[in-house]
Amino acid sequence: MGIFVDRETRAIVQGITGTQGRFHTRLMLDYGTKIVAGVTPGRGGMEVHGVPVYDTIEEALGKHEAEASIIFVPAPFALDAALEALENGLKTIVIITEGIPIRDSMEIVARAKQRGATIIGPNTPGVITVGECKLGIMPAQVFKEGSVGVASRSGTLTYEIAAAISRGGFGVSTCVGIGGDPITGLNFVEVLERFRDDPSTEAVILIGEIGGDLEERAARYILEQGYLKPVAAFIAGRSAVAGKRMGHAGAIIQGRAGTAESKIQALREAGVEVAERPGEIAKIVGELLGRD
C-alpha cells in the first residue's frame, strides 16, 4: 500500500545512461523497485544493470508494460522527457532534475493535468513506499516501515526527519518529495488527500519551508475539511531574510509572502503541531499515534 507507488509499480528510467541515472537505477533495483526499461536517445540496444535501454518510450512500451517513469535528464531536455512520458500514457512521473525553467515546469504541469497524470517534482528526491518501491534518490537506510506519511519540499532535511522517526521506533508508509521549485506537480493538499484515503497511513508529517503558500493552503484544507488523520509539521527558514533565495529555487520570501512565521501560525491555527526542531519529531509522532 502507501500512495503513488507500491510493489506493483513498473517504471521506466529516462536518462538511464547518465552518471546519476545509472547510479540510482542500481540503488532502486537493489531496493526491489521494478525498473522495466531505460530510455536514452541514441543508446537503444544497451543494457544498464541488466535493464534494457531504448531510444524512445514508445519503443520501450512496445516491449514492456509500465505506468511510471523517473527522469534524470539534464534540465534543458526535461520538458520534452516529461511530455514524452505523458504522451505515452505514463501516469506517475518523478522528475529528479534540478534547474528546470519555470516556464517549462508550468507547461509540464498543465499537460499532466490534461492527461490526468501525476508529476512528482521537479527538483525532488522522489517517492518511496517503504519496503515496496523506491522511485527516487533518497537513501533507503534512513526509512523504516511504518504508518507515518511524509510530504516534504526538501531532500536531506527529509532524511534527517525520517532518521529521527526511525530512531524513535516509528516508521514511514510513503514519503513524497513534492520538490523544491516554485512550480511543482503536487502540492501539500493533494498529498494530504491521498494519505487520507490510504489505509496504511495513520498520521502525516509535512516538511515545509519558506516561499509560496503551500503550507497555508494545507492548513486551510485541514481546517475546512476536518482532516481526520493527525498532522504534524516542521517548517525550515525562520531565520531567512526577504528577497534572498535559500538554495531551493522555491525558497524565497517575496515581499510579505512566504515567511516561516505565516506558515507556522496558519498550521497551528489548523491544529497542526509544529516542531521547533527536527529532533522533536519522534516525540510528536509518538503523541500523534497515541503511544509514548
Binding site: 534540465a75 515546469s105 508550468m106 507547461e107 499537460r111
Partner: protein, 381 residues
C-alpha cells in the same frame, strides 16, 4: 537574475513598450552631458537591483545639467541596500496624470503566469493588495493558451479606460506578456506605468527578473551571471556562484555549511534558537564532492566576520568520507583559520568520523548539539 533598470528598459524598447528618453552615465560629467542632450528637467536614478530604491534616496531630480552632475555625483559610489551604485540612468522627467501598475509574475498556487494590474501605481503592489485589494486586477494565464489581445483588453478595461487609450494600454500589456514568455521572466513589472496628460502610457520604471534556470536559452544574459556589474549580488555571493555554491550572505558571525537547502535552513534556524547569528547560508547541494567541501570551507575562512564554522552533513547520496576529506584538504592547505564544529550522519559516517578524528576534529551526532557548540564558541571567540 534581476536586470538593472536601464537593461530592462533596453529589452522593453525591443518589444515596443514606450520608455522615457534617457541614457546611462558612469560619471557625473557624463550625467551632465546626457541632461544637456535630453533637455531639463531630468530624473537621475541609481542603477541598483534593489526594490524600494526611491524611498532609499536613489532617485533624484535636476532642473539644470549642472544639477544633474551634482546629484549624479552624490549617487555614484554610494550604497543602496548594501549594493554599490556604479551607474545612473538620466531620463527626461515625465509629466504625470496618473500612475498605474502592471506586472507579470509566477502564480505558484495556480502554477501559471499571472498578470496583475492596478490603478494604484507608484507604490508597492503588496501595499495596494493589503490596503485596497479592489483596485487590483489579477488575470491568471493558461500556460497552454497564453494571454491573448482580448484578455489584455479586458484588463485595460477593468482599469477604466476606453477608446484609443484602451487599445494602446492593452497593446502595452500584451507586449509585456510576450516579453515575459520569450525572455523567461520570473517577474517583470512596470511601476509606475505613467499616464501622461496627453493620454500616452510610458514605463517610467522597468523591472525584469529572468529565471536563472532558463539562462541557457538566453546567452545574452547568461554572460552577465558572473559579472561584477550585475549589482544584485555581494562580492562574496558572486565568488560563491563562480564556485557553483548556493550562498547567501547574512549578518551574523557563525559560518554555516550544509548539504541540501532545507537542512541548511534548518541549521540556521537552530543557531537562532540557541541565540546565535549565522554569517551565511551555504548549501553544498546533492552528492557533494571533497572539492566542493574544501571550496566552501575556504570561502568562509576568507570572511573576516566568521568566528566559527558549523558544518552539518546528512549523508545520503553525499558520502561522509568524501566530505571529511574535503575538510582535511583545507586543513592541509591553509590550516583551520577558525574553529570548526562538524555534525555528520549517514552514508559512510564511520569512515568520515575516523578521518576527522585523526585530524583532531570531533564529530557530533545531533544538529541541536552542534548548533549549541557553535554558538558557545562564537560567544567565546
Amino acid at each position: 537574475m534581476n536586470l538593472l533598470e536601464f537593461e530592462a528598459k533596453e529589452v522593453f524598447s525591443r518589444y515596443g513598450i514606450p520608455v522615457p528618453r534617457g541614457e546611462v552615465a558612469s560619471t557625473p560629467s557624463q550625467a551632465e552631458e546626457v541632461a544637456e542632450r535630453l533637455g531639463v528637467p531630468v530624473a537621475v536614478k541609481a542603477q541598483v537591483a534593489a526594490g524600494g530604491r526611491g524611498k532609499a534616496g536613489g532617485i533624484l531630480f535636476a532642473e539644470t545639467p549642472q544639477e544633474a552632475r551634482d546629484v549624479a555625483g552624490r549617487l555614484l559610489g554610494s550604497e543602496i541596500h548594501g549594493l554599490r551604485v556604479r551607474k545612473v540612468l538620466v531620463e527626461e522627467r515625465l509629466r504625470i496624470k496618473r500612475e498605474l501598475y502592471f506586472g507579470i509574475t509566477v502564480d505558484r498556487s495556480s502554477r501559471c503566469y499571472v498578470a496583475i494590474a492596478s490603478s494604484e501605481g507608484g507604490v508597492e503592489i503588496e501595499e495596494v493588495a493589503a490596503t485596497a485589494p479592489e483596485r487590483i486586477v489579477r488575470f491568471p494565464i493558461d500556460p497552454l493558451y497564453g494571454l491573448k489581445s482580448y484578455h489584455a483588453l479586458r484588463i485595460a478595461k477593468a482599469l477604466g479606460y476606453s477608446g484609443r487609450q484602451l487599445r494602446s494600454l492593452s497593446s502595452l500589456f500584451h507586449r509585456l506578456y510576450t516579453l515575459a514568455v520569450e525572455q523567461d521572466a520570473e517577474l517583470t513589472e512596470i511601476n509606475p506605468l505613467v499616464e501622461t496628460p496627453e493620454g500616452e502610457f510610458i514605463a517610467a520604471d522597468a523591472r525584469l527578473n529572468i529565471d536563472d534556470n532558463a539562462l541557457f536559452r538566453h546567452p545574452e544574459f547568461k554572460e552577465r551571471l558572473f559579472s561584477e556589474e550585475r549589482g544584485d549580488l555581494t562580492p562574496e555571493e558572486l565568488e560563491a556562484r563562480r564556485r557553483g555554491l548556493a550562498y547567501v550572505k547574512l549578518d551574523g558571525e557563525i559560518g554555516v555549511i550544509g548539504n541540501g537547502a532545507g537542512l541548511t535552513m534548518a541549521t540556521l534556524d537552530m543557531i537562532r534558537l540557541q541565540g546565535g547569528r549565522a554569517a551565511d547560508f551555504l548549501d553544498l547541494g546533492g552528492g557533494a564532492s571533497s572539492e566542493r567541501m574544501s571550496s566552501a570551507l575556504s570561502l568562509l575562512f576568507s570572511d573576516p566576520r566568521v568566528r566559527v564554522v558549523l558544518i552539518n552533513i546528512l549523508g545520503g547520496i553525499t558520502r561522509c568520507d568524501e566530505v571529511a576529506r574535503g575538510i582535511l584538504e583545507v586543513k592541509e592547505k591553509m590550516g583551520f583559520r577558525r574553529p570548526i564544529v562538524v555534525r555528520m550522519i549517514g552514508t559512510n559516517e564511520e569512515e568520515g568520523r575516523r578521518i576527522l578524528r585523526e585530524a583532531g576534529v570531533e564529530v557530533l551526532e545531533s544538529m541541536e548539539e552542534a548548533a549549541e557548540r557553535a554558538v558557545e564558541i562564537a560567544r567565546r571567540e
